[in-house]
Amino acid sequence: MSEPVNNLPVIHVRGLQKSYGRFHPKAVLKGVDLTIPAGTVMGLVGTNGEGKSTLIKCLLGLLKPTGGEMRVFGEDPWNLSPATKARIGYVPQEPSLLPWMTVRQQLAYAAAFFPNWDAKFAADLICRWKLPWDERVGPLSLGQKQKVAIVLALAHRPELLILDEPVASLDPVARRKFLESLMQATADGERTVLFSTHITSDLERIASHVAILKDGRIVVCEELDQLKDRVKRLRILAGQELPRSFAVGGALRTEINGRSALVAMATVEDGLVEELRTRWNADVSVEDLNLEEIFMELHLD
């Protein structure tokens, strides 16, 4: 490759496919395209069972894809070199810890694997989250285990952090603290984060980019701000009954009820609102949508 290494996207996926089952294969990923440049904080959303975890596990080389092409730091995830593995931090959906160790032992154990282990940073996080240093990991609550797993994933200061539903079992206070720590850990703007979640408000707080996985493909992958600036909902109240055939070109979804209509638009071209106003003698208001609403609009058809 002629490009310098630091210009390469951290994650590059083309046409990724993954099916489960040998005799009656069920396709989960049907051609995923995803490019994540360095410094991006990318939130991955999708309904349950859409394949978010499958995608993440393929990226980490924990699952072998059925087809397509993948590169993580320029390497094939199925054959990652140890040096590249050390640049990645991963928090699985269900934390896998060693239940007989104390928190202190668990940290010391993990530290031995990583040359870049930042013990001070790890200790700060343990204190910040009020985790018990000398209690065994096994009996801790799910939320506390999750926090330990997050500390383990952050403490070697990875360049790429991959989190699968990291906050699903945390309470709102812990979620907020986690997000703050994540922001601190990535504050130099050089670290890349990919996290899956179904809590869109967390994503909106910290993500720079959003990717939406639907029907086995990435249907949206762009800057969050750009997405919000682009997708709008038109609320129309016409002077007369709207015909059933009422349609606006490029609509994501249309709902008609007598004189009024709701139309979700992927983009609102200049002049469209004015045109609708004159053509239907209508009041037209343009509504901003948050991520949850955009997500719903993409799934309601």
Binding site: V41, R176, L179, E180, M183, Q184, A187, G189, T200, S201, E204, R205, I206, A207, S208, L224, D225, K228, D229, E287, D288, L289, N290, L291, E292, E293
Partner: protein, 135 residues
Amino acid sequence: MQVTPLQFEVHPSSGVPIYRQIMDQVRALIAGGKLATGDVLPSVRQMAAELGINMMTVSKAYSKLEADGVVSRSRGQGMVVDEPGCVGSVSDRRRELQPFAEQLVVRGIQLSLTDEQVLTVVRNSQRELRETQSA
């Protein structure tokens, strides 16, 4: 005068991107006399930490305000509020105000206020704002 991040209120789950919320609030603080020419905005790091948002989002808001001529980057100080200037022609600026006027008019009708009574409300708030600015 010094504003702190606590004077900002961001709603991550609003349909309005966070960077635009920050831009609007800086403009509102200037219009309300709470930020004057030469005042310094809180640092990007401070804002991000206090509001619990991504630093890139704050940088983006500040850069766009700079491009709009509202603030300028000053070495060692951060973002400094500029001399208030007019951006765009009178008709552009009027068009920008139009939607707010529509809201006001509709609300006035809902409250059964006469046109004159609505205008009185507008004049009163203009006067109040001028008084707080000069105080």
